[in-house]
């Protein structure tokens, strides 16, 4: 349980650029340590996507719940938000929001964030490329999301529905 808390404390500190960037890091921490199988983690991600709330947060809650039940869920969630809330508190309440946005630190963070995204894509690609059908779905989702303004939620729900229909028919 202590290892779980420390892991999510650390993950929260690096969660720049929104939830999706950090999902690859969560996977590396949780699956490589043997806490969950890649298949079980894939299920958690699928559930996190279609549950209300930020994806990184949902993933932390789910991993905690899966490993240690209610208390695991509570502690993993609190751990992942500890660093973000502390930093926000310092900036908004103590510094009254007078922190310069933009500039050199922002550019340095972008460099790291793009790296985290590359890591996330890399770590999930082999599982999505397991069959021609999942590969086609992933490529279609990429094209739709990169070149149209379709809400990602419809892509996720649509693909889930296709998966359910395919499973029942074949």
């Amino acid at each position: 349980m202590t290892a779980l808390i420390l892991t999510f404390l650390k993950i929260g500190a690096a969660a720049y650029g929104g939830g999706w960037t950090i999902v690859g890091v969560i996977k590396a921490s949780v699956v490589d340590k043997g806490w969950l199988s890649p298949e079980a983690f894939a299920d958690l991600i699928a559930i996190a996507q279609v549950t209300p709330g930020p994806v990184a947060l949902n993933t932390a809650t789910l991993v905690g719940f899966r490993l240690y039940g209610f208390w695991g869920a509570l502690l993993a969630t609190l751990a992942v938000v500890t660093v973000p809330l502390t930093v926000s508190y310092i900036i908004t309440i103590l510094a009254h929001g007078h922190i310069r946005s933009g500039g050199k630190l922002t550019e340095a963070l972008k460099t790291g964030t793009i790296g985290l995204i590359a890591m996330t894509v890399w770590s999930f690609a082999p599982q999505a490329a397991l069959s021609w059908a999942t590969l086609a779905l992933s490529v279609a989702a990429f094209l739709a999301s990169a070149f149209t303004r379709i809400n990602p939620l419809w892509i996720i729900l649509g693909s889930g529905t296709l998966g359910a229909v395919a499973r029942v028919l074949f």
């Binding site: 939830g19 709330g53 793009i114 059908a133």
Partner: protein, 191 residues
């Protein structure tokens, strides 16, 4: 009308909202918006503008500052807005409002899915919903790459940083901070 009153912004014209009104706004948004930060942030912006708490331009200034903080974007947007319009009680109201609904939803969904077991419809839905993840995240990455102002040193560092993170596995967090430190130094030298 004296000049001080004429210069007042819209957020000081109305009395500061209380804990419950900030909490219930963010609780509602968090409970009803599926799809993470990219969907939630514009919803938060429209809601606080409609309430007369913050004009649009001020929201996006605040949001730019919120992005320099790690953590889910929707959570940071809520704590920054809450802190701005109602101080410390607004900060707490924003954080708890965003955090509670998904927590409750996940406990419910996990118990339901546990009960449904390996039903083929559910199995197929989860497989299908997961299959799009690499594609969606790659599209997110492409958008970041397209929006960025590229210089030689920046591009090289981004490429090397991506490779280092892919190789890092469980060491990703320390490697991430080393990359940030190195690229901060490189930016500082007029890259």
């Amino acid at each position: 009308m004296n000049p001080r009153e004429a210069g007042r912004g819209p957020e000081s014209a109305a009395p500061a909202p209380g804990f419950l009104s900030v909490f219930s706004l963010f609780f509602g948004i968090s409970a009803l918006t599926i799809g993470g930060g990219y969907v939630m942030v514009p919803v938060i912006q429209r809601a606080v503008e409609k309430k007369g708490w913050l004009p649009e331009a001020e929201f996006y200034d605040l949001f730019a500052a919120a992005q320099s903080v790690p953590g889910p974007m929707a959570l940071n947007a809520a704590t920054f807005v809450g802190g701005k319009v109602a101080g410390i009680k607004g900060f707490i109201a924003g954080a708890t409002g965003i955090l509670l609904p998904p927590f409750i939803a996940i406990l419910l969904v996990s118990s339901l899915i546990g009960a449904a077991g390996e039903h083929p419809l559910l199995r197929g839905f989860l497989d299908g919903a997961f299959a799009v993840v690499p594609g969606l995240v790659a599209a997110l990455g492409l958008n970041m790459v397209r929006k960025r102002a590229w210089k030689k040193r920046r591009a090289l560092l981004t490429l090397l940083g991506s490779i280092a993170l892919i190789l890092a596995g469980p060491w990703a967090v320390p490697v991430f901070f080393i990359i940030i430190a190195l690229s901060r130094l490189a930016e500082g030298r007029g890259a």
